[in-house]
Assembly symmetry: C2
Homo-oligomer: 132 residues x 2
Amino acid sequence: MTERSHPAVTVDGLVLVDRKLVAIRRRNDPFRGMPALPGGFVELGETTPEAVVREVREETGLETRVVRLVGVFSDPGRDPRGHTVTIAYALEAIGGRLHAGSDASEIVLVDPDEPPKMAFDHNDIVRRWRGP
Amino acid sequence: MTERSHPAVTVDGLVLVDRKLVAIRRRNDPFRGMPALPGGFVELGETTPEAVVREVREETGLETRVVRLVGVFSDPGRDPRGHTVTIAYALEAIGGRLHAGSDASEIVLVDPDEPPKMAFDHNDIVRRWRGP
């Protein structure tokens, strides 16, 4: 991540397959080895829904569509590499086949009712997605 | 706005005073002379709710608190100067006194039921805030 004067925008996706949340086990630091929601930086020229569909495809192999906005997570300490604002979306799988992409060592299916400790603030995101 | 490889994050605030939405008449291009919701860039180290409260204070003089997230607006063409992703919040006024800040030539109170043509995609944001 290069020096920035403003936070960067990222997206994270919550997709259920067989009633489990699709996560990836992180290959790299920070949080190496921990499950994380699929996601990444928004590129110039794409909307945030387009970005999350692309990131989920790249990291998990799934084709999805956005169902709803879950929330915005902007705590400056949420990523130790620098301040990012992430926009979390719930998606539904509409095709593709689960396989780990380049940023992931493997796919992890997470029980949404009893999730393991996840990378970044992803447990908070899962909690918000589940609702009160 | 400097060259960027990723979109920047901004915030916009919807605050009612006397049942009217608080807007500012833009002093500068783009959209010079048109009403716009108060808002601006998120700074490093602040959350998006903190950013919108700060921008509303700087541009309108009002002290506010966030009531709810209205939506995320990320169309690449929404700002002709470059791609920004804006996060819109509904706020309630809790103090201060309305006066135009440095980015605004004057405060405009907008009828939320019949808003004038506004800058950027702010009519879309007002529509989303009003709901279906």
